[in-house]
Every structure is written in structure tokens, then in C-alpha cells.
Amino acid sequence: MTLRVLKPGLQTTVQDAGRPGNLRWGVARGGAADTFAMALANLLLANPLSHPCLEVALTGPELEFTCELSIAICGAEFDLLHNRTPVGNDQVLQMRPGDILRFGGLRSGARAYIALAAELAIDRRMGSLSTHVIAGFGGFAGRALQAGDQLPLRNCRIAKTRSLPGPYRLDYRSRPLLRTVDGVEAHCFSENARQQLGAGNFTVSPQSNRMGIRLNGPPLPQERAPQQVSSALCPGTIQVPPNGLPIISFVEGQTIGGYPRIAHVISADVHRLGQLTAGTPLNLETIDAEVARQIQREKASLLMKLPDLL
């Protein structure tokens, strides 16, 4: 029982919840860039939220199935063909031996998640199946999938055909508004610079990846030199290096940083960074940290309620 890779796409990787707890060793959490979309796809198949799945980025793969199993795709919207039939996201798809799943043009978002009603029969590295792309370990052979790869599967099963209720369908067409809390070194920047950052002046640079989302725009001047104290960087932290162009730390980011932090994308919105494409203008809104944590609890409870609604 395998999943054959006919075409790999730009960067198709095995991902799960990553390796939390290893920041102290320089190992970023990694895992799915959009954990929320991954969770939705898994819940459709009655899998655990972070069951290992395939993350598809910008250009999708072409995959051949050699056994009967169910899959579900959530996240970025691509033109999808199941053999010759156009199919959509957010529903359980039944695959049979010889069936081919083809990703075509990208309609919205940046990353889709293919959840499998099966287990990937590959070894864990540091407790996870996720591919750490930058450090080249984990996942399938420590890298993104290549044409000719055969992913071994076990315990393939058929899940009930069903789809996500309307309110759970993600849409990435609108201009993203991300919520932030003040950065540790926000005081090093003028009020004006802080407003500049969130007012739609910055767009996502094509040089963004799982390590960091780089922003292009008018360089942000630093008003006061920070007390340069290096400390841990978490996904969502927005640093401003000397060139004034902010970088948002992402899932495979450096674990320690020393540039002044102007703001942090709230934990509940970090998953949305996974759906940003180059050129997208960013709007940011500062909120209170306690509110940020409440939003995260609400998002978690939305996922908890979903199984009963399916």
C-alpha cells in the first residue's frame, strides 16, 4: 500500500504538529504551517487533529493511490481533479487503486493539507513525522517529495462521505487582517513607525518560506537602540533587522534572535501566516494579550465542537 508521487509540486511535505518542546536545542516547532486547516482536514476523516498529512505549497502534486482509502483536502483552494472529475476542498473523497489526484491552478491561499485515512509507515524523528525543510530531517527521507517517491501506507480505511459545515470553510480571498500584541522592544520604534507597519504598507516578499515571512515596504526607522538581549523567538514574532524591513518568524524560524521585536502576531493567528502569498498586503491590528489568548481558546473550542456537527 503506497502513495505514488507522479509529480511532486513545489514543496509537498509530510507534516504534523511538529516538535514542540525542543526550542532549547535550536529546533523550532516546525510541523504544519497552517495547523487549523490541517485539523479541519483530519477531523473530516475522524483522525486526531494533528494526524500526519501532506502539506502542499503553491504548486500542487499529482498522486496515484494504490489502495482504497478516504482523503480530505482543506486550506488553500486549488483546481483539483480526481481522475477526470473536478472535486473541491472540505469534503471526504474516496480513492480507489489506480485513482489519480491532480492539483491544478491555485485559486486562493498558499498551502493545502491532504489528510489521509491511513497511517504513513515512516519513522519518527524526535517524536514527529514532520519534515523540517531547512534542517533536512524528518518526514519522507528528510525532504520534500520528489517524482517517483512511494510513500508507504498502513491501516488504510474508508471514512464516511461528508463535508464541512459552511462556517468552517476557510476563505483566503479577502485582504488579511492579522491581530498582534506589542513587541518586547516596541518602545524602540516611534508611534509613526508602529502605525506604518500595520497600515497595509507592507507586502509579503517572494523570499518568504517556512523559516520566515519577509515583508517589503518603506523601511521602518529605529528610534531608540534596544537593550540587545537575545531571547527565544516564537512563530509570529515580528523582528526589524537593521535594514528596516520586518521579518515575521515562522514555523521553522531561528529559535533565538537579537533584533528588536516590534510586535508579535497572536498565537491564534499564526496559522494564517501559512496562507500568505507573495505580494499580499498585510493589515495588522493591535489587541490586548489577554484578548489574544481568549481568541485562541475560542478557536480551539470551534475545533472541539466540529465532530458533533459532522
Binding site: 514542540p20 518542546g21 526550542l23 532549547r24 536545542w25 535550536g26 529546533v27 524523528r125 524526535m126 523540517h132 531547512i134 534542517a135 533536512g136 530531517f137 524528518g138 528528510g142 500584541v181 518586547v184 538581549v229 537575545s230 531571547s231 527565544a232 516564537c234 509570529g236 514574532t237 531561528q254 529559535t255 533565538i256 521585536r261 508579535h264 497572536i266 498565537s267 494579550a289 489577554e290 489574544a292 489568548r293 485562541q296 481558546r297 480551539a300
Partner: protein, 252 residues
């Protein structure tokens, strides 16, 4: 005399606190930070997900889903930090001296000539100064297995590159500012590259993926290009336990 008289606990985003000490980086401060991390780990604080030591700071990440409010966690961190400063604890585990082979041959050292010009030292003087100290591992971070080392000879301090290299080969040994270190992976890098180790610093396939822990010491040992070629990157690193006595008095 406590290592730091003052500390502050600051939010680092919405899911972490930084415990920052007002003291210069030192071995004693790193010992305090590691001991504090061990104490927090033992305390009944279920929401804590990560403990990340740095030179003058310990970051404590937490899961907001395991807390209804952060005041209790904040109070506990303040109290544990006060205790750690007043009653320094000994740290669990043996500290080791790890020998890391480095080839300083010109083909692995593109920036050595620039460093020589800047420091007015010959290449062999640079190598002698770089291989002399037992460097202290303050922490790991940046990328998997990267060691932050203390103890670089002041004669070797040099500015970072104005334009960072887009990619440095794994194992590259560099100097940037007052720091020296090894890039474990091919990553962009702003340090002056003066050599390369054939030893793998990150071994995700093994039960122990890292060659050193905080408070260990590291010594660079010069090898030839021939020894470099013959070296097995995954061979067990040469480790020697450090007795309490020999860990004192090493220059920072």
C-alpha cells in the same frame, strides 16, 4: 553574592514570558539560568511548554489553553527566580569537554585572509588563538544544534559581514562580533568563515541528537585536509568529564 541583583519578567508575545537578568553574560549567570530552568521544569506548572535559556534571559513559553489567566504563572515564575538567585542550586548531570576537529585550510576558510588583515595576525596565529580556549556552551539555538560559545580571544573579535552570505556550507566555523561558532546546517550566515568541521553537530537519527549541552565546554582541534576527508561525521564525539575544579577560572 547573587549573580544578578535584579531581574524582570516581561511578556514575549501572548504565549511566553522572558525572565531577564540585569547582569552581563557569564558562566555564573548561565549556571543560574540553567538551574532556574530545571526548577521550573520540576514545579507543577502544567501550562509550560518550552524553556529556552539565552545569555541573560530565560524564556518560558506556555499554552494559553492550559490557563484561564496568567497571573498565577507569573507569580510562580517570580518566586522561583527569587529563590534561584538567593539559593543557587547545583545542576543535574555531568559536564563534559568535547573536542571538535576543525580544518583551517584555505579551501574551507574563505574569510581567513580578511580576518588576518583586520586583526594583523598571521593565519597560524589566528588558528593558535582559536584553538586555545575551552569555550563555554552558554546555550543552543538559532538552528538545530547550533552552540552559542563564550570565551573567544579578544584579538579575534571582528565585525559581521556587511552582506551576509546567502548560504554557508554545513560545518562552517565562523567568527562574528565577540562570538565564534559552527553553522550546523547550510543556512544564510553573516559571520567570517575561518574553517570547517567534518563532525555532524545535529544527529536527528540518533537517540542523542546533540553533541553538547549548556555548560559543557568545547575545544577546537586543528586537523589536516586529509584527516578532514577521512573523518566519519557521525562518529561518537570525543568527550571528557570535567571535574568541578577544572571548570573554574576559564576566561570568558
Amino acid at each position: 553574592m547573587p549573580v544578578a541583583k535584579r531581574f524582570e519578567v516581561l511578556p514575549n508575545g501572548d504565549a511566553a514570558f522572558d525572565i531577564r537578568f540585569s547582569a552581563e553574560p557569564s558562566e555564573q549567570l548561565s549556571e543560574t539560568i540553567i538551574a532556574l530552568a530545571e526548577a521550573i521544569e520540576k514545579a507543577p506548572l502544567d501550562a509550560v511548554t518550552e524553556l529556552v535559556p539565552a545569555y541573560q534571559c530565560l524564556t518560558v513559553c506556555f499554552d494559553p489553553l492550559h490557563l484561564t489567566e496568567t497571573t498565577g504563572l507569573l507569580d510562580a515564575l517570580v518566586s522561583l527566580t527569587q529563590t534561584a538567585l538567593i539559593h543557587p542550586r547545583s545542576i543535574a548531570g555531568t559536564r563534559n569537554l568535547i573536542r571538535i576537529p576543525v580544518c583551517y585550510d584555505e579551501k574551507f576558510a574563505p574569510d581567513l585572509p580578511a580576518l588576518c588583515a583586520q586583526s594583523r595576525l598571521t593565519a597560524s596565529e589566528v588558528v593558535a588563538l582559536h584553538t586555545a580556549p575551552q569555550y563555554l556552551v552558554h546555550m543552543l539555538g538559532f538552528t538545530p544544534g547550533f552552540l552559542y560559545l563564550g570565551g573567544l580571544d579578544t584579538a579575534l573579535h571582528c565585525p559581521r559581514k556587511a552582506r551576509p552570505a546567502l548560504s554557508v556550507p554545513p560545518g562552517s566555523v565562523g567568527i562574528g562580533g565577540q562570538q565564534t561558532g559552527i553553522y550546523p546546517q547550510a543556512t544564510p550566515g553573516g559571520w567570517q568563515i575561518i574553517g570547517r568541521t567534518p563532525m555532524a553537530l545535529f544527529r536527528p537519527d540518533q537517540a542523542q541528537p546533540f553533541i553538547a549541552r549548556p555548560l559543557d565546554r568545547v575545544k577546537f582541534v586543528q586537523i589536516s585536509t586529509q584527516e578532514f576527508a577521512q573523518f566519519d561525521p557521525h562518529s561518537e564525539p570525543e568527550k571528557m568529564p570535567l571535574s568541578a575544579l577544572s571548570t573554574r577560572g576559564v576566561q570568558q
